[in-house]
Subunit: 212 residues, 2 copies
């Protein structure tokens, strides 16, 4: 989504807050050094997207992180980043209702809109169902649901999920075995046309929801 | 694994520490009330396995949990449970190196052995690779790796994963679309024979590793 938005001419940042399983460093390779300035840490640009992930600093080293340390790291992320004037900031959160979500919510308040990614397996839908209840209680702006690997877990059709969860479906992504062969998001999108079409569709859905 | 071990006559408890996406309540349905005694909270038995999961208390309600609260809940779980004399206690941890792992490790120390579940997708293998490094640094007893949905993500064969990660493969589980049709683990195992065979195989591998 970040990459497609930047292709369309928007200024986009991608912030990977999944500290336990960061993917940003693989999806968006960065060669340059990080540069600090008096405005804060400037995010490196990868394929047009400004991007930050703990993965850049970790290599393949382990990163045990207690609850307290995670809150500190989240505070660091949000305090040192110099995001400047952006059209979109995409924040990749791990599943669940931990500090990654509640802290981000506290910092960004009404600026955030949420898109939830789920498979249509029973377990994944249960997690998302709880998350939707939470979002509604908290008055968070919920754009909708993206169904991943939609062709694999066929428990429910998209219409059924929409009815069950009472939330719009923004789009679906199928399972592509070849996705694994390409490391960066640019390569994935350029080489697997059906995948690209599905992501374009989701981006369209999000922009429409946001009245862009 | 818990269920198969109990079938084989072992006393087994299953503790679901995945607070954000608890599955224990679906896999092991429980009708009876929880009973407290002076020894602590007695775990209800479901299909022969003593089981505890926050899922029993949540229903489909959301459960936001900050880092501090999670540590408190973990402390509660381990302090109030009356496990008695068991042959095996299977602890289901969410992915990553958060408090769920480090706290459990601090409480149970050398009593724990770890089996890691991964798919053979690049992202999942990266997460597990970090976890293995961590386990080795901490001197944790690592039984091996279980490869889930092994027939879907074919990036690496089992032998290749073994070489890449330098850890034994305990077994694999294939992707069964029908798995979703059955809710409890008992029903899943009874109705999908190939699935049962794979799990039996993993249990055999684990018992062998533990010299049972």
């Amino acid at each position: 989504t970040s990459y497609i938005l930047s292709e369309r001419g928007y200024d986009v940042a991608y912030i990977d807050l999944d500290f336990h399983g960061p993917a940003g460093q693989s999806l968006f390779p960065v060669d340059i050094q990080f540069k600090g300035g008096k405005e804060g840490l400037e995010l490196p640009t990868s394929n047009g997207v400004r991007v930050i992930s703990v993965g850049y600093f970790l290599g393949d080293n382990p990163f045990p992180l207690s609850g307290r340390d995670k809150i500190d790291l989240l505070a660091d992320f949000f305090s040192i980043l110099s995001l400047g004037e952006l059209d979109f900031t995409i924040i990749d959160l791990p599943p669940g209702m931990g500090d990654e979500l509640t802290f981000t919510q506290r910092i960004l308040k009404e600026k955030i809109s949420i898109a939830m990614v789920t498979t249509n397996s029973e377990l994944s839908l249960n997690v998302v169902e709880r998350l939707i209840k939470y979002a509604k209680t908290e008055g968070l702006r919920l754009l909708g649901i993206i169904v991943n690997m939609a062709d694999l877990f066929k428990r429910y059709g998209l219409k059924q999920i929409e009815e069950k969860l009472q939330v719009d479906i923004l789009g679906k992504v199928s399972y592509y075995p070849k996705l694994e062969e390409f490391k960066t998001i640019k390569d994935k999108l350029e080489n697997i046309h059906e995948f690209r079409k599905e992501i374009e569709n989701i981006v369209g859905g999000i922009l429409k929801k946001l009245n862009y």
